[in-house]
């Protein structure tokens, strides 16, 4: 009987943890498109997104012996992606007066979506939502991204971040409340403008 995809996945993880680079390469082949999609959403720039994915892969290889399988492999990878992204922003913000580099990039994308020749309301809404996400405190943003973009359960997020499930719940609640308030405020401003 042949192994199921999840069994093959588990086998590859076990081999990669034992230092098998070929197994790690195959795991990364599977995860790369999804990682790249997320990295593009964070960076909004293809080159920076590629750099981020590369750094994530290298960091994942180094940390692989510590992966204990208590959460999905992609959730674990996603946490590394988030941390590498934060690290890259930290590097920029130390050298430039742009602590909110990500917010600036998101605002630019909103501006571009709004002022295009044929603005797509859905695209504008999506860019606005991503801009609001960048305005959240990093700890809250991390939980929201893991919950909705990496589709991780609250228990998985708790394991992957090394925090209690109660803390995950609380951060998620605060993040969603803040996003809702931001949206309400934005709607008020829009209606006031018209």
């Amino acid at each position: 009987m042949s192994a199921t995809p999840s069994e093959q996945h588990a086998d590859l993880i076990a081999l990669a943890r034992g230092g098998d680079l070929e197994a790690f390469s195959r795991l990364m082949e599977e995860s790369q498109p999804q990682l790249m999609g997320q990295a593009l959403a964070f960076c909004g720039d293809h080159q920076r997104a590629q750099d981020l994915v590369q750094e994530t892969m290298i960091a994942a290889w180094k940390s692989l012996p510590r992966f204990d399988g208590s959460c999905r492999f992609f959730t674990w990878l996603y946490v590394i992606l988030l941390r590498q992204h934060r690290r890259a922003l930290g590097w920029f913000s130390r050298r430039l007066p742009l602590a909110t580099l990500e917010q600036q990039a998101a605002a630019n994308r909103v501006e571009a979506a709004t002022t295009s020749a044929a603005p797509n309301p859905e695209a504008v809404e999506a860019e606005l939502l991503r801009a609001m996400l960048t305005a959240l405190p990093a700890r809250h943003r991390e939980v929201v991204r893991l919950r909705f973009y990496a589709e991780a359960s609250e228990a998985e997020i708790a394991t992957a971040l090394g925090i209690s499930p109660g803390t995950v719940k609380s951060r998620l609640h605060h993040a969603l409340t803040n996003l809702r308030r931001m949206k309400e405020k934005m709607n008020q401003l829009r209606h006031g403008a018209h």
Partner: protein
Amino acid sequence: MSTPNPDADQPMRDALQRDAAQLPKPDFDPRLHSTAMRRIREQAEPSIPQWNLVPLLTSAMVVALLASIAFWQIHSSPENKIAVQSQPDHPLHPPVAPAVPRASLLAYRTAANEGDAALFALLDRDAASLLPASAPVFRAPLP
């Protein structure tokens, strides 16, 4: 204290889920993959001999430490100390620095095994070295 109302957050949850579903999922990029894997291999290769060196270096350090302890024990054993302390104590006339290095405890043991003659010869040599005939103590009149 207000209790959280999960329904109030539901539209935002839905919006986030919709946005996540809309995220582009680019095709697999073989160039990106091979670049990253090459960098990983470059970082992984030099680490192999380094990992093998760790037990080797540890063993070498342990051997060196044991050798130092053994050497120190031989050269600072109580018998040896007694032999050094047994030299005549003469505050007025400090001892003359020995010209010939004194025999070690091991040398004394070897000499004792060879017989009394060898042992006395070694003792004589060290005594002459510690207190030679030309020492001032022999020139001073006896009280």
